[in-house]
């Protein structure tokens, strides 16, 4: 039996987790909130070791904890901020995998006598495995180890439904008649379902899926808490499950995407993603000098940073350009789309890293009415978030997503590496517009050239 003081320590840890989530909801308290959460986790883990509850294999356990912590710590410290979304996806996946394994081991140890407990075990295995394999696929997509386009399997809809049905039948059967081969089969089916679930999701919708899988992992951890009779796991898992579900809804709203269409869009063929309008259409391209002149003699300039800016590590150069323009008396603002970068809020993090003043960052609703009175919009490494197809083209996968209305400005300059479409894989009509000028090249290179031209102006 767990000693009372251990239970009280776990209660304290649960309260710390609640404070953590609460703190993370406001910019001022976010960092402390996260530290409180870490303190709660440390407390609960440390107490378990000194609780007097007998632990066999203690040396192996300690070694695994240390090695795992080191791997987590180092990868989290070393990751480039641009690659942070896929690392979060990976962490989420391994958490789901851990929950599934915990349930499997508990089954091996105690068997399936208690049916309610067995049902919770089966739930943990299924949801944990789905979260694991689904997160690995999102990781591969974001890391661009596989295509970020929706992957359409022939008859994928039916295959997925078949696997889902088999998983449900297997789960029920396992609860009724516990057999080890059935558990293994269920594990495999769930892993396959997780992959099928994420494969057809298009690149732009991946953050929503990460958030949803995060909630899934939370629920599987809660269920594993029921299996192990551990109140802290139930509370922590449920908190994440509930807040993750709400967050998924919020994110989908910010992107103007109903969750159902995100997840099943590809099944219905709406995410075909090949609106290719021919690569040979004429575009107007210019040199760094042209861009410098346009910007230098404008009254009002809006900068639209995108993921390409971050990939080129050009945030600092962009800031230098903005400072130069401001010194010339040009009014400069940054327009931040809610999903600029790869996740909601990602771009704010990346620009804060380059110490761009917080007040110059304007959110979409605030900046959209300003484009009509803007002389030049400079789009750096962004594409989908300024694509008017989201407003006009019902067949576009991004249809309905709120965008930055850069097409309303007098002139638009795109810094792009090539004519390759954005993450969502669709053509952008503004690129072919008369008022648009393209400056091809690496974002940092191009910005540096524009900056030096501007200095000589």
């Amino acid at each position: 039996m767990t000693p009372t003081w251990v239970q009280l320590a776990n209660l304290l840890a649960a309260v710390l987790f609640i404070f953590a989530l609460k703190g993370l909801s406001s910019p001022k308290s976010a960092r402390n909130g996260n530290l409180l959460g870490a303190a709660g986790a440390l407390l609960a883990t440390a107490v378990l070791f000194v609780s007097g509850i007998p632990l066999a294999n203690i040396l192996l356990i300690l070694a695994a904890v240390l090695v795992g912590s080191a791997i987590g710590w180092i990868s989290a410290r070393k990751v480039q901020m641009t690659q942070m979304p896929q690392l979060v996806a990976l962490f989420n996946g391994v958490g789901g995998g851990a929950a599934a394994l915990v349930a499997v081991i508990e089954y091996l140890e105690v068997g399936g006598e208690n049916k309610i407990s067995l049902a919770a075990t089966v739930f943990t295995v299924v949801i944990g495995s789905v979260s694991f394999s689904g997160s690995i696929i999102t990781f591969l997509k974001l890391q661009e180890l596989m295509t970020s386009r929706p992957v359409i399997i022939p008859a994928g809809k039916w295959v997925t439904m078949l696997v889902a049905a088999l998983t449900v039948v297997g789960a029920v059967w396992l609860v009724i008649s516990p057999q080890i081969w059935l558990l293994v089969a269920l594990l495999v089916l769930s892993l396959i379902f997780g992959m099928l679930f994420v494969l057809p999701v298009g690149g732009a919708d991946v953050p929503i899926v990460i958030s949803l899988l995060n909630a899934f992992t939370g629920l599987s951890v809660a269920a594993s808490g029921y299996v192990l009779n551990n109140v802290l796991l139930i509370i922590a898992g449920t908190l994440v499950g509930a807040s993750g579900t709400l967050l998924t809804k919020e994110m989908a709203k910010a992107m103007g995407r109903p969750i159902t269409s995100t997840l099943f869009g590809a099944f219905n063929g709406t995410t075909a993603g090949n609106t290719s309008t021919g690569g040979d259409r004429p575009v107007r391209s210019g040199g760094p000098n042209d861009v410098a002149i346009m910007l230098g003699f404008a009254n009002k300039v809006i900068l639209v940073p995108g993921y390409g800016l971050a990939v080129a590590q050009a945030q600092g150069t962009l800031r230098e350009l903005a400072d130069l323009l401001a010194a010339r008396g040009v009014e400069v603002d940054y327009a931040i789309h809610p999903v600029a970068g790869r996740m909601p809020g990602h771009m704010n993090v990346l620009l804060a890293e380059a110490s761009v003043p917080y007040e110059q960052l304007k959110e979409m609703d605030e900046i959209n009415p300003e484009f009509a009175s803007t002389d030049v919009v400079l789009v750096v490494g962004a594409n989908d978030v300024v694509n008017p197809a989201a407003r006009t083209d019902k067949s576009a996968p991004i249809y309905g997503m709120p965008i930055l209305n850069v097409d309303q400005a007098q002139q638009v300059v795109f810094l792009k590496r090539s004519m390759r479409p954005g993450f969502a894989g669709i053509e952008n009509e503004i690129l072919y517009d008369q008022k648009t000028m393209l400056l091809f090249g690496d974002a940092k290179d191009s910005l540096n050239k524009v900056v030096s031209s501007l200095k000589n102006l």
Binding site: L21, L24, W73, A76, N92, A99, V102, G345
Partner: protein, 103 residues
């Protein structure tokens, strides 16, 4: 603890979970997701518990893997969230608010 007590805790936790994250600005969506992600890494203690009572090599092996994965999730999750939030130092906007007005 009996099933109904656990169910009570579960249901109440759902409400708390909904309550604490309502009205979050989009700026914080990513750190919040990442922080929540770290919290479910507490499954680590589940891994430790089952490995602590494991008796045969298969259970022990699976248990060690579960602990490894759980620890990566827990520690990595909190550290990466902290790195994101390092950027939101409250000092900066205050220090720059005067020249922001002039620009």
């Amino acid at each position: 603890m009996d099933g109904v007590a656990l169910l009570t805790i579960f249901i109440l936790s759902i409400f708390v979970g909904f309550e604490v994250v309502s009205k979050v600005s989009t700026v914080l969506h990513t750190p919040l997701m990442s922080g929540a992600n770290a919290i479910h890494g507490i499954v680590l203690i589940g891994g430790i518990t089952v490995t602590g009572s494991a008796t045969n090599p298969l259970e022990i092996t699976l248990g060690v893997i579960a602990i490894l994965l759980g620890a990566i999730n827990l520690v990595g999750g909190f550290v990466v969230t902290d790195r994101m939030l390092e950027m939101f130092k409250p000092k900066k906007p205050v220090a720059r608010s005067d020249d922001g007005g002039a620009a």
